[in-house]
């Protein structure tokens, strides 16, 4: 659901299980999407990106799915590990607007239970 202020949506998963983090975006003109991981006190760390001409992209233990019809993005993490605990942000950009600024979502806090 929506988060306000400090109340981030939280996902708790057991170590070794798969995690799915969801993100809805509103700009139908967005054509580039990116997921970041942010640990406490650190800057966002790039995980994976995808362009709007694709609907799936895989990395190491991660998969991003893009559904442009419903403007939905998801990040799947396989075999979740304690080191995956962090806040995850999706971000979007519309290059057609002439800028490469990213618009970030509110974030989801992932907690991995050992």
């Amino acid at each position: 659901g929506e988060s306000v202020g400090l109340h981030l949506p939280t996902l708790s998963v057991q170590e070794g299980d798969n995690s799915i983090i969801n993100c809805a975006y509103s700009n139908s003109a967005s054509d580039y999407f990116i997921w970041y991981k942010q640990e406490s006190g650190k800057g966002p760390q790039f995980i994976i990106d995808i362009r709007s001409n694709m609907d799936k992209r895989q990395g190491q233990r991660v998969t991003v799915l893009l559904n442009k019809t419903v403007k939905h993005l998801s990040l799947q993490i396989a075999a979740t590990q304690p080191g995956d605990s962090a806040v995850y942000f999706c971000a979007e950009n519309s290059r057609g607007a002439g800028s490469y600024q990213l618009t970030f979502g509110k974030g989801t806090k992932l907690s991995v239970i050992p």
Partner: protein, 116 residues
């Protein structure tokens, strides 16, 4: 290789003072971005440089905020007459060549600004 670096890592100042925050992008990256992140929120765009010029400064909240990148590498974000509401983490990112499709933004650790 070296990532994006930002100095200082923490800055405490008094209301009304002037502050400068520095960003060193990844070597060879042509684009540089500044974002601001408040507690519990995602980063918010401030300004984007392509080379030496500000290609998009639409995110700067008011004229107290200014940024420069005189030689197309290091950038400085300048805040005049700081207010308590300016307290946040200021993040810098760089990307290799967004106009050529190399637009992945890599972030630095941020500068934590506290205005008392």
């Amino acid at each position: 290789g070296a990532g994006v670096s930002q100095t200082p890592s923490n800055k405490v100042t008094e209301k009304g003072k002037y502050v400068e925050l520095r960003c060193d992008p990844i070597s060879g990256h042509t684009a540089l971005y500044w974002y601001r992140q408040s507690l519990g929120q995602g980063p918010e765009f401030l300004i984007y440089f392509q080379g030496t010029g500000a290609a998009d400064d639409s995110g700067l909240p008011n004229d107290r905020f200014f940024a420069v990148r005189p030689e197309g590498s290091v950038s400085t974000l300048k805040i005049q007459r700081t207010e308590r509401g300016d307290s946040a983490v200021y993040l810098c990112a760089s990307s290799l060549s967004p106009a050529r499709g190399q637009e992945t933004q890599y972030f630095g650790p941020g500068t934590r600004l506290l205005v008392l």
